[in-house]
Symmetry: C2
Subunit: 147 residues, 2 copies
């Protein structure tokens, strides 16, 4: 797996926060319950996201977490790289294309192509898109149920 649960859970949390913008701070426990994330683990991910400026937190009763940016201004690429580090699929894609290490690898050119496509897709997808997709999914589920 390229992504660990960090990238999965962290994005889930951002989606949850994006869906509740303008309703005041959302508590960790709520996010954890709704998105099925162990609460004490979510802690670390929220801390990371806060350090990188994606959300701000307030303590005390009525406190919680809020997005610090517009959902449409947060790309999947930047969030995942914040949570997971580099998304390079293999070591040698990070080497220069003409380098000795790149040539020794033998599959560098294939993976650099795949990596570029991956970053393109992740870079053009925002948290707002993810929320929109989820809302669409909910509408379809509701329609099914009403039949």
């Amino acid at each position: 797996m390229l992504l660990s649960t960090k990238g999965d859970y962290g994005v889930r949390a951002l989606i949850d926060l994006a869906k509740h913008t303008g309703e005041g701070p959302v508590q960790r426990a709520e996010i954890a319950r709704r998105r099925k994330i162990p609460e004490s683990y979510l802690d670390h991910l929220l801390a990371q996201l806060r350090r990188d400026g994606y959300l701000r937190s307030t303590r005390g009763p009525g406190g919680g977490h809020e997005l610090a940016k517009e959902p449409a201004d947060i790309t999947l690429l930047e969030v995942l790289e914040s949570l997971e580090g580099s998304l390079a699929p293999m070591e040698c894609v990070l080497e220069a294309p003409g380098s000795e290490a790149g040539a020794l690898c033998g599959q560098q050119w294939v993976w650099q192509d795949i990596y570029a496509h991956m970053r393109q897709r992740l870079g053009e997808t925002t948290v707002a898109d993810l929320v929109e997709h989820e809302r669409e999914h909910e509408r379809q589920a509701a329609a099914m149920y009403s039949i």
Copy 2:
């Protein structure tokens, strides 16, 4: 990283064998030296590739390893999945698109798209292509040197 050194080294070994088809068995030590792979580690990778039918080995003096298939009939996809297991970039891409786990994930649709593209590219690239690319690289390097 999605790929460990297994996928890297294993493919290097296949490229090396493909380049020496028709010259009789190639020894482990030769491959290890040319491709900069720890020999006793390469051992395991050759064993895996043999089990999956990509090469055959002969023991004793003059023994070594040979490809069991045409280089053009070995795709990068199958080799890497043999060496690394599933290349799924995250857990939820393996869930059904409409499932509960898929919906909970939130980014499933994006990654299924990326995964499909990745498999497409890897599936249409063969060991023969990798060898050809390497030969092209060598020609260019030789041209540079002759100036």
